[in-house]
């Protein structure tokens, strides 16, 4: 089955990103396709490259980047949510003189249309939030 996931909350504030990650791992192990993970609202903070949790804690951002590396799952950060909260895509940041290294590996910034496309194309869509 084709499953899409939406994450609406920031990492570390709440268990949201952890539950979503475990859910995705289980879906992949069960042979399902995870079509896209869409980061919306405060969920965009999952994509901050410079997140440096203490060494004895799980590294949520790195975990997403690894998921992309291993499974090639499309990790999309909503452009409007991101801009409002200070996360810019590299080319945009360069253009406006902003910080251009904020986005972690594996993520891309794009519009809400990609969420709709995922919802329409997938058999299931599961939202994780707080």
């Amino acid at each position: 089955m084709k499953i899409s996931v939406q994450i609406n909350a920031s990492p570390y504030q709440h268990q949201t990103a952890d539950t979503a990650w475990h859910f995705i791992q289980a879906a992949l192990v069960s042979g399902h396709e995870v079509y896209r993970v869409f980061f919306y609202h405060d969920g965009i903070y999952n994509a901050l490259r410079d997140s440096r949790p203490p060494g004895d804690e799980r590294d949520i951002v790195k975990r997403w980047s690894e998921l992309y590396r291993q499974s090639n799952i499309d990790l999309v950060v909503c452009v409007s949510s991101a801009q409002r909260r200070g996360l810019l895509e590299q080319s945009v940041a360069k253009k406006v003189g902003g910080y251009d290294k904020a986005l972690a590996d594996g993520f891309r910034i794009a519009g809400l249309g990609l969420l709709m496309e995922a919802v329409i194309d997938s058999d299931r869509h599961v939202t994780f939030g707080d």
Partner: protein
């Protein structure tokens, strides 16, 4: 005229109160565009939409809203890009004196 305006880093007006038709024309000319009746129809639509709904549509919604209000042909991308070759949503908002939409930075 343009030098006296309070504009942001993208060239958009910071205060809509500074907007006049001649300001819009000057901003357009500065971008190499002469505003026609067809441009003005879209610009006025943009202002009316914003005033009534306190909302800025993204590109897709923009086309839909124009279709609904001005007819299907005017909401098509081909028509809108012919008028505003560098991006209809961005430049219609710019000449309307409205803020830059998030996806247009």
């Amino acid at each position: 005229m343009l030098a006296e305006l309070n504009r942001d880093e993208y060239g958009f007006l910071k205060q809509r109160s500074q907007w006049t038709k001649s300001v819009a024309e000057a901003m357009a000319l500065d971008d190499g565009l002469v505003l026609s009746v067809a441009h003005w129809e879209i610009i006025h639509f943009m202002q009316a939409y914003y005033d009534e709904y306190n909302h800025q549509p993204n590109a897709r919604l923009f086309g839909q809203a124009i279709k609904k209000s001005l007819g299907a042909s005017k909401g098509s991308s081909i028509y809108l890009y012919k008028l505003f070759p560098d991006g209809p949503l961005k430049y219609a908002n710019k000449y309307a004196g409205l803020p830059i939409p998030p996806s247009c930075i």
